[in-house]
């Protein structure tokens, strides 16, 4: 998921040098790590995969928060397995990024220094148990919308990582929807908890698809290089069309008075793009806490990683 189109545009590659590359991509052939590729393609992919990897890792925190308080042992196990999957996604994606010539350490440093971006959604707080439901349903649901087309991405290692990840994401979405279903059909307090959570997560979930098409800096090139298959607005529309009936099924109300069906699609109101920019710029409710948690884990673990290396050295003799 978590590809929000956060990048600045780079200079286009020299067309002569890239002619063969372009033809190959246009023919839907996969680009592999040892193939020649334009520097801008490499940069684009590295940045997107890294952002994606960081999002998986930072994304462990909001839900990870609730594992200790999960209200049944079954839910505790499911949530723990889900958050563990996200760690696995981070690993596959860092590995995919490494095939482009960066190291995981470099990428992690970029995250911890605040230089690299990750999905804005994880800078919102998880305040109730229902948030674990809303995140699975909406955030993982949006992730699937974003990621299914990425399974056909022109860059082989990324596409293959996405195939694996998408399989797990659908389990994530299902468990979230199941949490919401139980709450929505539960006591009045549980139903209110589900509604309140949906009220908070709906708009941030729509923002996960990135800025409106007119403002997205590199849509054209991403599309031509078959990294992106649909525009931000197309994906957002698909997501809304899928999700509105699910909310109706749950008997919950989406917090958008402008929502209406035009016979084919659900039209919806405009997300608060000023909020989106603010959260991306670092002023979301939890940006500082999320980064601090990652920095602390990294710093606290330094002696462990050093010791593991030192021990391995000794064994090598």
């Amino acid at each position: 998921m978590y590809t929000q189109g956060l990048d600045q545009a780079d200079a286009l590659p020299d067309e002569e040098l890239s002619e063969r590359f372009e033809a190959k991509v246009a023919a839907e052939e996969k680009v592999e790590p040892t193939d020649w590729m334009p520097a801008a393609y490499r940069t684009l992919l590295t940045r997107q995969i890294a952002q994606h990897a960081h999002s998986e890792i930072v994304g462990m925190l909001p839900e990870g928060n609730w594992i200790s308080r999960a209200p049944s042992l079954r839910r505790k196990g499911i949530l723990l397995a889900k958050v563990q999957d996200e760690a696995g996604h981070g690993l596959y994606l860092y590995s995919a990024a490494e095939t482009l010539g960066v190291t995981r350490d470099e990428l992690v440093d970029q995250l911890l220094s605040g230089k690299a971006k990750y999905s804005s959604i994880f800078n919102y707080p998880t305040l109730t148990w229902a948030d674990c439901g809303a995140i699975g349903w909406l955030v993982d649901g949006a992730a699937i919308m974003n990621q299914v087309p990425l399974c056909r991405c022109s860059y082989g290692p990324y596409a293959r990582a996405m195939v694996r990840i998408c399989r797990e994401e659908s389990f994530h979405q299902r468990q979230g929807f199941e949490i919401m279903t139980v709450l929505a059909q539960g006591s009045p307090e549980q139903k209110a908890m589900a509604q309140e959570s949906l009220d908070r997560w709906w708009w941030p979930a729509l923002m996960m698809f990135g800025p409106p098409d007119g403002e997205s800096v590199h849509n054209d090139r991403s599309m031509r290089w078959k990294v992106k298959r649909f525009t931000n607005d197309e994906l957002r529309q698909k997501f809304v069309d899928m999700t509105v009936p699910q909310a109706h099924f749950l008997g919950l109300t989406l917090p958008d008075p402008e929502l209406s069906f035009d016979g084919e699609h659900w039209t919806f109101g405009e997300p608060d793009w000023a909020e989106f920019k603010r959260v991306l710029a670092g002023d979301g409710p939890c940006n500082k806490e999320r980064l601090a948690a990652r920095r602390d884990a990294h710093a606290d673990g330094a002696w462990v990683r050093e010791a593991a290396l030192a021990h391995a050295e000794k064994k090598r003799g």
Binding site: L73, G77, L80, Q84, A87, D300, A302, V304, H311
Partner: protein
């Protein structure tokens, strides 16, 4: 089956549950991504063991309590876990030492429980034995790596051993509940597991260039419901949502 059977199963099941709860605290905060995954894996296994044993204890009790009633609606004084597992995560060295002392115990315990006269318990134990064989390999690996790693890691491991060792022996102290449950051939006698446990612990610590601490007064009481100050906080957090909404589905 009498009360001693329920008690004996809770002693193991609660130990697994409380340890799993502690381990989840690392999720998203481990020293490396690979270790996030490994610790979550172990927590999931141990949680599974807890669920099986709590469910069985509830069935044997016959009072209609399922795994959740037992996990969420008992107070600290009703928990029967070892004091060892309720000790805080501390730094990674403390978590590793706690895990290793526990894994070295359960590696023996599951073998004994696999012979239980209760088929359900034996089935749980058979599966658990395979999983805990992996756990003890994992935690032994870390004990050795950190014990024989850098000066700092060695120092931290010494500190962790010193803090946690007094809680290591409780698992092997028999009382009348154990004796009764052993007579029913439900569980192995706790003290019978001590010898192989010690052998493994000594071997791994030596490999790790760490001394086996002298036997102290073993801290005890967890298995009888007298806990350290830590458990009540742990349970308060674990039970907060469940208790706020009595009687609903999740």
């Amino acid at each position: 089956m009498g009360d001693h059977s329920v008690e004996a199963l809770l002693r193991v099941g609660d130990s697994c549950l409380v340890l799993a709860q502690r381990l989840t605290g690392w999720c998203g905060h481990a020293p490396a991504l690979e270790e996030d995954i490994a610790l979550a894996n172990i927590a999931l296994d141990v949680l599974g063991h807890a669920r099986g044993l709590l469910t069985r204890a509830g069935e044997l009790e016959g009072a209609g309590r399922d795994e959740d009633a037992l996990a969420y609606l008992r107070g600290a004084e009703e928990f029967r876990n070892l004091l060892l597992v309720e000790q805080p995560n501390g730094d990674f060295a403390h978590t590793v030492v706690r895990q290793f002392l526990f894994d070295a115990w359960t590696a023996e315990l599951w073998k004994g429980l696999a012979e239980s006269s209760d088929e359900v318990v034996a089935g749980i134990a058979e599966k658990a034995a395979k999983e805990s064989a992996y756990h003890v390999r994992h935690s032994s690996g870390w004990v050795v790596r950190l014990g024989d790693g850098t000066e700092e890691s060695h120092r931290r491991m010494l500190a962790a051993l010193e803090d946690l060792w007094p809680y290591a022996g409780e698992a092997f102290l028999d009382d009348e509940v154990d004796v009764a449950a052993v007579e029913a051939r439900l569980v192995p006698l706790p003290s019978s597991l001590e010898k192989p446990w010690r052998a493994r612990v000594s071997y791994v610590l030596e490999e790790a260039t760490l001394p086996v601490p002298p036997d102290p007064w073993w801290q005890r009481g967890g298995r009888q419901g007298r806990h350290s100050e830590h458990l009540s906080y742990l349970l308060a957090e674990m039970q907060v949502v469940h208790r706020a909404h009595p009687g609903v589905q999740w």
